[in-house]
């Protein structure tokens, strides 16, 4: 989900700083039991460690 058009914003961001895209309330898990086991109610923040390089 592309939050910003990064090229457009790059000139405003100083170098060597880390940036975290702003979260927008787009989705919430319907099944709260699954959210509870997953550890978040936001599907976008569901990032299970799969034991290997971060590939989509």
């Amino acid at each position: 989900m592309q939050d910003y058009n990064f090229n457009e914003y790059f000139d405003r961001f100083p170098l060597a700083m880390a940036y975290v895209p702003w979260q927008h309330l787009t989705q919430i898990y319907e099944d709260l039991d699954k959210a509870y086991c997953t550890g978040t109610i936001f599907p976008e923040l569901t990032k299970p460690f799969t034991g290997r390089r971060c590939v989509k």
Binding site: Q23, L25, I28, L32, D33, A35, Y36, T40, I41, F42
Partner: protein, 89 residues
């Protein structure tokens, strides 16, 4: 923990845990988005639900927190109910 609890009590406890988790998640979101009305409505909905579930649980099995420790009954259940190390929760 579930030494002497019946399944309905365990079920209620788990559901309270889930709803409480939802309110914590939304609290964290609202901390960084304090003007998100939709998030606030969602939070209010689940906070009301949690409080009701806590009251229901307290009426049946005893208070889970002091905020629902009913003082109009003839005994102070908060102290009389089984402690966590006695199989309570």
């Amino acid at each position: 923990m579930s030494g002497r609890m019946n399944s309905e009590q365990e079920n209620m406890l788990r559901n309270i845990g889930i709803v409480d988790f939802v309110t914590v998640e939304m609290t964290e979101y609202l901390d960084t988005h304090p003007f998100d009305r939709e998030a606030m409505e969602y939070f209010n909905h689940y906070m009301r639900m949690k409080n009701q579930m806590m009251r229901d649980y307290a009426a049946k099995y005893g208070p889970l927190s002091l905020s629902v420790a009913d003082t109009c009954s003839k005994e102070w259940k908060w102290a009389l109910q089984p402690m966590p190390w006695e199989g309570g929760c």
